[in-house]
Amino acid sequence: MTAPSHSFGLGLRKPHYADFLESRVAVDFVEVISENFMVDGGKPRQILREVRERYPVALHGVSMSIGSADGLDGVYLARLRALVDEIEPLFVSDHLSWSRIEGFNSHDLLPLPYTKEALDLVCANIARAQDALGRDMLIENPSTYIDFPGAEMTEWQFIAAMCARTGCGLLLDVNNVFVSATNHGFDPIAYLNGIPADRVRQIHLAGHSQGTALLIDTHDQSVPRSVWDLYAHMLPRLGLVATMIERDDAIPPLHELLAELATARVIGAQTSKAAA
């Protein structure tokens, strides 16, 4: 009998649809952007159904706007619920951020101040979303570029409280931890040690770019050494997690992403061996 093990997947992007549908790609799961498939019908839904017949699928959203001060969009939640019911995903996730306020939608993952007011609001919105979806969500830590005056806690304290109050899980984006730590001058190890490790269900590994003054979460580069090191540090503290390479721009040939995933598998195997 084989012991349960970590799983390894990729973010499925359009240039690789044919690869995944015409052959069996060596991944344990794929993750898709929920909104790309929250359409009424047509080819996108057909492709997702075909992908789902071949691979477990995680749904990763970018538009729930869990931090909106004026609450969540009921139409959005209903559409996501319909997709969840059809796809029966491994996970449903979105970001600790906001994008919509009073009829304006930025389509960018905007930062939240880490205050008690924001914590109350985020927890209420997550509770509503989990009710609407009929399941627990995973919330992803963001890359941030702004330190708001008046913060009452660190991001990891905010996340720990959020998990405790809502029961949600975590999608830990290791690159985002590195980007935010560099931009704000905190210790990424303190961050990783501060989040509730037992709530981490999924991990994103990605790359970033150097902007004029700050690191930018571009997700258009291969995973850098700094992110691999943090991943290797964190993995032994976690239970079984689903790790994936997330590339959102400058999508390379599939074999390059699979080579990165092989590196993650090696680190995962070393972790399992050390624990045995």
Partner: protein, 249 residues
């Protein structure tokens, strides 16, 4: 500052680059605000560029970017999905290119093709279904992918040439205004230019006029032989195109 006030300031920064709003978000926030402003505008420009490839090719990259920038200032996004953002761009182009109607019509066509691509899946009536329908009382229902747009130029011919990598024809005005009919057949978006008579017939049929009433209207305007022939031809074409989702009495 409350969370709501902060989010309103962020909206003001992104949509108007309000320095007062930026200052309210923190003395050290400027580099981060610049990143978010760039993300916001770059994402919307990319959305418009991807949605209007032919329009981009027709007016040229610099003119398209200027039009997109004008549109972003004029129409901040409101929907949860970026798929909705292109829908108002033809109106912006119509205002910017009021003397060149083919520009906005080309953009409308591209937008409608995109919307049809993800319209709801429905089964459509086939020629084999025709004999089971009581045509004296039948009211047609149409595919939700169907859309109709005003046409005064040769925008469809320009679209086709650009799509094939051919040299597009010069812009021309039609002798008589017509319409563009857009729908999805299987998984492919399609279009064709139609004249005023077919457009009116489609509008009547979509609004619930029984097919027999449609025939009477065509006979009244075209005469007995031509009206009956035209009604039959339209019905055959609509069925062949996959436009008709059902016929009820």
């Amino acid at each position: 500052m409350t969370l709501l006030a902060m989010q309103r300031d962020m909206r003001a920064w992104l949509t108007t680059e309000s320095e007062a709003a930026a200052a309210a978000l923190g003395a050290d926030a400027s580099p981060g605000l610049r990143i978010h402003l760039n993300n916001y505008r770059a994402q919307l420009i990319a959305c418009l560029t991807e949605s209007f490839e032919r329009t981009h090719d027709w007016i040229g990259g610099a003119a398209f970017e200027a039009a997109a920038a004008t549109h972003i200032d004029r129409v901040p996004p409101s929907a949860w999905t970026l798929d909705a953002y292109p829908r108002d761009f033809p109106a912006t182009l119509s205002a910017l290119y009021s003397g060149d109607p083919e520009v906005a019509e080309l953009a409308w066509l591209e937008c409608a093709l995109g919307d049809a691509f993800v319209a709801p899946d429905v089964a459509t009536v086939t020629p084999a279904d025709i004999t089971a329908i009581d045509w004296d009382n039948a009211v047609l229902s149409f595919s939700p992918a169907l859309d109709l747009g005003a046409l005064t130029s040769n925008a469809p011919a320009i679209w086709s040439a650009l799509s094939e990598g051919a040299v597009p024809p010069a812009a021309e005005c039609l002798p008589e205004p017509g319409a563009m009919l857009v729908w999805r057949y299987g998984q492919q978006s399609r279009f064709r230019a139609i004249d005023q008579i077919e457009m009116q017939a489609l509008l009547h049929a979509r609004s619930g006029m029984p097919f027999a009433g449609l025939c009477e209207q065509l006979v009244a305007s075209l005469g007995e032989a031509e009206g009956v022939a035209r009604a039959g031809a339209y019905l055959g074409q609509w069925i062949a195109d996959g436009l008709i989702a059902g016929a009820s009495d």
